[in-house]
Assembly symmetry: C2
Homo-oligomer: 263 residues x 2
C-alpha cells in the first residue's frame, strides 16, 4: 500500500468519527445519574471515571483504525501530535452538567488535517441526538441537513454562554457589551448550545477559557450549517487558539458581535 492509499477520505473519516462517538453512548449512559466520585483537576475542573473510560474507549478505536494518526484528548493527553492527521477528543464536554444529571453534555470528536478541523461530531448521549460536520458539506443533525437561522442582527439574536464563570473580568465586560444588545441572553448548554446554533434555534454562543478539545469539533459543524466560528479577534480556531470562541448564525451577526467585543 503506497502513501496515497493510506490517506483516508473525508467520507471514511467522518463515518468513523460518527460511529466511534456513538459507540460510547452506552458507556456514558451507564454512568449518567449514578453516584460518581468527582475529582478536581489542576484547573479546578471536575473529572470522573466516566470521562477517563470514555476517552480510553475512543482512543483504542482510533489507534486500531489509524495507528499513524495523532491524538489529543482531554483526559489522557497527547500522542504522535507531529502527524498531519490528528484526532481531538473531549469524552464529556460539560462534565458539570453530566454530574448534575443535565442531558446537555456531549462527546466531542474532531479530525484535523494539517491543523485544520475537517470533521466534527457532537454526540449527546442523554438525548440520543448528534450533529456531524464535514468540510465542504452541509452539516447534519441526525440524518437531516441542518442550517443556522438567517439572523443578521444582534437585536434579533438569542445569545448563549455556558456560565458567566467562564469569563475573566475583561471577558465578562465584553460579554456584557454584547449581551446588552442581544434579543435574549441565556446561560447553560455546553456543546449542546453549538448544536442548537447549527440547527437554527439559537443564534450566537460566546465563551472563553475553552480548550482545543472543547471547540475543534464545533468548527466543521457550525461552518457547514452556514454559521461562522472564530476566536475573539476573528481568526480561525486552531490548537494554538487562546480559548476565546464566538460562534454566530451568519457572517453579518458574527461581524457585529466581533466589533462589540473589541470596542
Amino acid at each position: 500500500m503506497n502513501e496515497k492509499n493510506k490517506q483516508a477520505s473525508l467520507s471514511e473519516l467522518s463515518a468513523f468519527a460518527l460511529a466511534v462517538a456513538q459507540d460510547v453512548t452506552p458507556l456514558a449512559l451507564s454512568y449518567f445519574r449514578s453516584p460518581l466520585e468527582v475529582e478536581l483537576k489542576a484547573d479546578q475542573s471536575p473529572v470522573t471515571v466516566a470521562d477517563r473510560q470514555i476517552e480510553a474507549a475512543i482512543r483504542v478505536k482510533v489507534e486500531a483504525a489509524y495507528p499513524e494518526h495523532g491524538i489529543f484528548g482531554e483526559e489522557h493527553g497527547q500522542a504522535k501530535t507531529d502527524s498531519a492527521n490528528l484526532w481531538v477528543i473531549d469524552p464529556i464536554d460539560g462534565t458539570k452538567s453530566f454530574i448534575s444529571g443535565m442531558p446537555t453534555f456531549g462527546a466531542l470528536l474532531a479530525h484535523l488535517v494539517d491543523g485544520k478541523p475537517v470533521v466534527g461530531v457532537i454526540s449527546a448521549p442523554a438525548t440520543g441526538e448528534y450533529w456531524l460536520g464535514v468540510q465542504g458539506q452541509p452539516s447534519l443533525f441526525g440524518l437531516t441537513p441542518c442550517k443556522t437561522r438567517d439572523c443578521r442582527s444582534l437585536a434579533d439574536a438569542r445569545l448563549y454562554t455556558t456560565s458567566p464563570d467562564v469569563f475573566d473580568a475583561a471577558g465578562l465586560a465584553a460579554f456584557e457589551r454584547v449581551s446588552a444588545k442581544a434579543g435574549m441572553r441565556r446561560f447553560g448548554g455546553d456543546c449542546y448550545s453549538y448544536g442548537l446554533l447549527a440547527s437554527g434555534h439559537i443564534d450566537a454562543v460566546m465563551e472563553m477559557s475553552l480548550q482545543p478539545y472543547d471547540f475543534m469539533a464545533l468548527v466543521p459543524i457550525i461552518e457547514g450549517a452556514g454559521g461562522r466560528i472564530t476566536d475573539w479577534q476573528g481568526a480561525p480556531l486552531s490548537i494554538m487558539s487562546s480559548g476565546q470562541v464566538i460562534a454566530a448564525a451568519t457572517p453579518a451577526l458574527h461581524a457585529e458581535i466581533l466589533t462589540l467585543i473589541n470596542a
Copy 2:
C-alpha cells in the same frame, strides 16, 4: 351525591394532574423547534402560541372534570379563586429554553387545597420525563420513587439557578454569598433543576422573581423527596409569596443557605 363525596381524594387528584400534564406533551412537541412568533409580555417575558394553547388545553380538562375548582394560569389568568380547590398551571416553564430548542422546559401543574399545594407535576415533554409529588407520599420520577441526596453542607453542594438575570442587586449579592461557599454553581435549567434536585443529582436551587405558577408544583415534589423548599425567609411558599425560592436537599443544607442569604 353529598358534599363529602364530591371532595376528590389525593390519589384521584394526582392521577388526574399527571394525566393532564402528560396529555399536552404532543402539543408541546408539535411547536418545539419549529418557527414560532415570540411576543413579549408586560414583564418582558416571552410567550408563544404554544404557551397559550397548552394552557387552554389543560384548562378545558380541569373545567370538565372539576367545574367548581378554581384555576390560576400563567397565560389565561384566574377563575373561581375563592374555591378551596385551586389548580395552578404553567404551560411552559422555561419559555426561553423552549424557544431555544433546549430540552429542559416543562409543564407545571399544581393542586392546592385551602392554599396548600398537595399535588405537583413537572412534565418535561422533550425528554419524556416527569416528576410527581403528593402530600405525605414519596415523590416519583416516572414510576420510581425519588429522593434527594443526603447533602448537609454547602461545601459539598451542587447549586443551580436559571440565570443571574433573575436576581435584583440585593438578590444577586445574596446569591454570590451562597454560591461562593458552594461546591459547584451552575446556570440554566428552569423547572428541570428542581426535578434533578428531587432525584438527588443536584442539591440546591436558588431563585427570585418567580410567580406562583413557577413554584407551587415544585413544593410537593421537593418535600416528598426529602428536601425542603421555602421562600428566602424560610416561610412556606404560597400564592402570596414574594417569588424568592430556595430549595435544598436536606433541612441542614436549607438552614445553612438561609443563614447566608440573610447574613
